[in-house]
């Protein structure tokens, strides 16, 4: 497959992915002649409706769920807000306690914080230094009034893959709570089988799997009943109203079809890439800390702290040299706080602010790795010659 960008190396695939050209192609008719609203009775409407149905089948196939267990939403953020608020409000008579963990995506954490303001109670589980949630901890926190447990499948920053099956078992074995997992980072890289995992709800989005930005999905087991987040015309079986985004739904279907077919091969390729990259870096650059589990990690994900080198500066230096990456430093966020995930695994602020996330995708090649390591070595050395921190990443005297 043709590389998406010839001269620049894009290794920020955990942030968003380039669109697969086949996905783009599948969407195009729906921006043209087949622009119908699936809710219309006429032919154009019915055509659109059929296409949505077909796409729903493909997403269901990917997850091994039933067709009508898939609800299309506007993003993973929406799916997660839907699950948290929908469950909280619909089950509030049964209980007002929710359990999640400290490394979840911000959309889970801030929705939880809002629910706390509304009188719900949330337990944020600690994780260990590799980012794992412990099933024993979970068991201890489960209560009679726990209505939902939400633990992500793979962490978007540090690549930790949670023991979802076990966590779901503990939840169901010790409470009446629903179990939800945010699997936005997973499809196309690892197996995501809702039956096998034994979960009640699962969040997906398309733009992490070579589909378009602005569409998500929620798997909700048939017998799970929660309030909608978007009330209205009754689309998506009344679970999520709003005129369907037909082109993106079709694109999501196509992306799912491709992801289902290729996940094993891709998972292996991406794992090889991240392993090789980590090893080369560790061989050539001193004072580098790996954030996240040693192995196995989310295929393609690398998170390193170059001691003494501020992350945002490094990202911009790499960008100048044509390499697109991310950092858990947040010099431009309102609060100037580094990643909550790095904090949760016990990284101090200096280390957290020194993190670099490299995330490989299917359009990356072996040559990318070589070039990246060369450039990184130079830029890290240069920034270290400016740094005000000592070799241990401390302020010193």
């Amino acid at each position: 497959m043709k590389k998406v960008n010839e001269d620049r190396i894009y290794v920020d695939n955990n942030s968003t992915t380039p669109m697969d050209p086949r996905v783009k192609e599948s969407m195009d008719p729906y921006f043209g002649e087949d622009f119908g609203n699936p809710n219309s009775l006429h032919k154009r409407g019915r055509t659109a409706n059929d296409s949505v149905k077909k796409a729903r089948g493909k997403v269901a196939d990917l997850l091994k769920s039933k067709e009508d267990e898939i609800i299309f939403t506007g993003s993973a953020t929406e799916s997660n807000n839907h699950v948290l608020k929908g469950t909280a409000f619909s089950r509030k008579k049964k209980g007002k306690h929710i359990i999640t963990d400290k490394t979840e995506h911000k959309c889970i954490l801030s929705a939880c914080r809002w629910l706390e303001e509304q009188g719900f109670e949330v337990t944020y589980l600690d994780v260990d230094e590799e980012g794992y949630v412990s099933p024993e901890d979970l068991k201890e926190e489960l209560r009679d009034d726990t209505v939902l447990v939400s633990i992500m499948m793979a962490n978007n920053e540090i690549g930790t893959i949670q023991p979802i099956k076990e966590l779901a078992e503990v939840t169901h074995g010790n409470s009446d709570a629903y179990f939800h997992t945010d699997a936005a980072q997973c499809p196309g890289k690892m197996k995501v089988d809702v039956e096998e995992l034994g979960i009640d709800m699962l969040t997906l989005n398309a733009h992490k799997m070579y589909g378009p930005k602005g569409i998500g999905a929620l798997y909700k087991r048939q017998d799970v009943d929660i309030d909608p987040l978007l009330h209205g015309g009754g689309q998506e079986g009344g679970e999520r109203s709003g005129t369907e985004n037909v082109p993106y739904i079709v694109g999501f279907g196509k992306a799912s079809e491709i992801a289902k077919r290729n996940w094993k091969k891709q998972g292996k390729k991406l794992t090889d890439m991240h392993n090789k990259f980590i090893q080369k870096i560790q061989n050539r650059i001193e004072e580098v800390k790996l954030n996240g589990p040693k192995k196995p990690r989310l295929p393609g994900n690398v998170n390193l702290s170059f001691i003494g080198v501020e992350g945002e500066a490094l990202v911009l230096r790499l960008d100048e040299r044509g390499i697109e990456t991310a950092t858990g430093s947040a010099c431009s966020s309102e609060e100037l706080k580094a990643s909550h995930v790095l904090e949760a695994i016990g990284r101090g602020p200096e280390t957290a602010h020194s993190s670099l996330r490299v995330s490989f995708g299917k359009f990356n090649t072996e040559e990318d790795i070589e070039r990246m390591v060369d450039v990184l070595e130079e830029e890290v050395a240069d920034l270290r010659s400016i740094t005000a921190l000592d070799k241990k990443g401390k302020i010193g005297d």
Binding site: A313, C331, P349, I386, A388, I395
Partner: protein, 153 residues
């Protein structure tokens, strides 16, 4: 962003007259300023200045600009360089990055404070206040690191 790619006056200085240290690693910014002070027409002036910064692109660029601005100035002149001028010199900074220019200004002022203190020179009330703020930030940092048990890391 030439000041980011090729910063001026960057690096350590051998035998500085004084060194300052400002910032807060919790916010991802730490800066050191090294000064050599000379005398010209009976007035003390900044003969040489260098910086080291752990911080984002804007922090590095403002450090570079600040040292360029301070170089050759009398202590009194340098003392009066404010963050606003620094960011203007850089062609303006986004609001969210204004703290970076304040970091560099603080670094410069703190270095002058340390120098004046060491030499027993008069220190204006304004400069004393600035020094106190810089100290507090560092204190808070240390506290935080203790709290988080970060030295085990």
């Amino acid at each position: 962003m030439e000041h980011f790619k090729n910063p001026s006056n960057m690096g350590e200085m051998k035998d500085p007259d004084v060194t300052s240290k400002v910032g807060n690693p919790a916010c991802g910014d730490v800066m050191r300023i090294y000064l050599k002070v000379g005398k010209r027409d009976g007035e003390k002036y900044i003969k040489d200045i260098k910086f080291k910064t752990f911080g984002c692109a804007s922090a590095i660029a403002t450090s570079s600009v600040t040292t360029e601005m301070a170089m050759g100035k009398t202590l009194e002149e340098a003392e009066s360089i404010e963050e606003k001028e620094i960011s203007e010199e850089l062609g303006g900074l986004p609001k969210i990055k204004m703290h970076c220019s304040s970091l560099s200004a603080n670094g410069l002022h703190e270095a002058i404070y340390q120098y004046k203190k060491k030499e027993g020179l008069d220190i204006s009330e304004d400069l004393k206040k600035k020094h106190k703020i810089a100290q507090k930030t560092l204190e808070r940092t240390k506290e935080m690191r203790r709290k988080h048990g970060l030295d085990e890391e």
